[in-house]
Symmetry: C2
Subunit: 325 residues, 2 copies
């Protein structure tokens, strides 16, 4: 089968592609061709013959049509202008996140007798306060950012194009991804990962909010599993509601810290410094944090069992099995 | 103040314009200019000096910019390709209902220091089965038509453009409008109006579903009141959720018929003929029919008190006060 990954150079995109390159197959079928696309160039794993990289900007005219011309059987669409940039640059956010995605959908629709599976990643940014307890599968979308608006719109388009038979779409709405590897992120939500990743690397981390703040987490490894499961799921089981909120591990900051203590010890935890930031605290108060996800669980999507597991996964996958104790 | 009505030749558009022409003012302010726009030409009330008609297709390039150039203070955007046509013609539905609306929003955004009130009409087609009792203000949107998808997307855009300060948007999501004047409608939902309007005019009407089928109704007159109230409402009171589900009168078909009997007598009711249509019955089963609308009620939107009142309003407004007994 032919697989196309759009947004292959992002954090999840890279991990997904590494997995596809390693497995060489998905859902029982061999991958004959893997095309990994992003707006920047990437590297291939050594010795891989069925894969290639391409530099493509989905917001450019005809870019989508050229990508789709070889008729990939399976398309992962992970590409997006991130939240902060989409808020700063209104036109760019809409051009890429909405119009780029719609161009992709239209390029698929333009080919007769072609109905690929498309796996689209959405975000909890589709939700906005006030909440009424844990956010249920049938809770209203009130994006409080242009990024969240664009994601909510594309969820609607994904469902309509699927209903009309133009493709077979599955939306994967991700909880907070933790632990993010790499450098501390400029995103306001970066502290959820920073307070785990930095201390494990021997560096100090700043916690800008109260330790009672809660969030729902999935590791990058679990996220890749969500995407692979979404790629092979029987679409008929989804009915008209094509995007699924993924399950995760609910944890307060205090629970994250206690998990870190259990996995890595007191000395590591001592590297977290609490420096309250009223601006971040105010933002966090409106974030969606708690989800009831019976549909995804019933369809076989699996969260980690505990935040301890999320930390161990980070140590295995991103730290080569060791941390600075 | 300057008022622009887009979609002025439709059933609600005409009634709204008649009301604006008659009142000559809205929310305590005189109307200095009323521009009534549609894709077809219309007639003006006699002796009106502050109003003019224009034939404009919002889906054409620059159409929106030209409409907005005089900077209307208040814009009613009622124009849409209706449900059945948007389903038959995918491109046309998206071009008008999504891209036309977005072009209007963009034309407003393009003018600095201009922030009009825009009243946008949405539809219960944003909802789709399964429901969990009465549809609440925070219930998920699952459109089961391209028309409903386009309406749901424009609700999201309305909220984002408002949040960003480009205009001050209010979305009015309408229940079933009943009694629709004019000829029997080809729409599958036409029977809700047909069984009242046709017997009152001395003609036979066909009822294609069981009389246990329920729906929520507002008269055209109440609908115009919704739009006028939406035009003058303090936007701050809406918060981030800019579209409101309007309240209506819940009634089963049996209750509609008993109301007709009370208002018009047995002889009129005897003109309803029950001819079950399995295709229509199957469609109706998935329609949203019952709504809890605490937000709109708290904000002062008023439904009729009973279905009897809805029938009396039809007789007054559309039949000159008399019916065929």
């Amino acid at each position: 089968m032919k697989v196309l990954v759009i947004g292959a150079a992002g954090m999840i995109g890279r991990k997904l592609c590494e997995r596809l390159l390693k497995d060489g197959r998905i859902g029982g079928a061999d991958i004959d061709e893997l095309v990994m696309v992003d707006t920047v160039a990437g590297d291939l794993g050594a010795g891989v013959t069925f894969a290639r990289h391409a530099v493509v900007d989905l917001a450019q005219p005809d870019a989508a049509a050229k990508l789709i011309a070889p008729r990939p059987d399976l398309i992962f669409h992970l590409a997006a202008i991130v939240s902060g940039e989409a808020e700063r640059n209104f036109d760019k956010g809409y051009a890429v996140n909405l119009d780029g995605t719609r161009a992709l959908f239209e390029a698929i629709r333009a080919i007769a007798d072609y109905k690929p599976r498309i796996v689209y990643t959405s975000s909890i940014a589709v939700f906005g306060a006030p909440y009424n307890g844990a956010i249920a599968d049938d809770f209203f979308h009130t994006p409080l950012s242009s990024y969240g608006t664009q994601k909510a719109i594309c969820e609607l388009l994904l469902a309509d194009y699927t209903r009309r038979g133009f493709f077979d779409g599955v939306g994967i709405r991700l909880p907070n991804i933790c632990v993010r590897p790499g450098k501390p992120n400029a995103a306001a939500s970066g502290f959820f990962s920073n307070i785990i990743r930095e201390p494990l690397a021997g560096r100090e981390a700043v916690l800008p909010v109260a330790d009672s703040v809660g969030q729902t987490h999935a590791s990058p490894r679990a996220t890749v599993e969500f995407l692979l499961h979404g790629a092979t799921l029987d679409g008929e089981r989804l009915g008209a509601r094509r995007t699924l909120m993924m399950p995760g591990v609910p944890a307060s900051i205090a629970e994250q810290i206690e998990a870190l203590r259990r996995v890595a010890g007191d000395a590591v935890v001592a590297r977290i410094r609490h420096v309250p930031d009223p601006a971040i605290m105010a933002m966090v108060a409106g974030w969606p944090a708690s989800f009831a996800t019976p549909r995804a669980l019933a369809l076989g999507f699996k969260p980690e069992a505990s935040f301890d597991d999320i930390i161990r996964t980070h140590i295995e996958d991103d730290l080569g099995g060791a941390f600075v104790s």
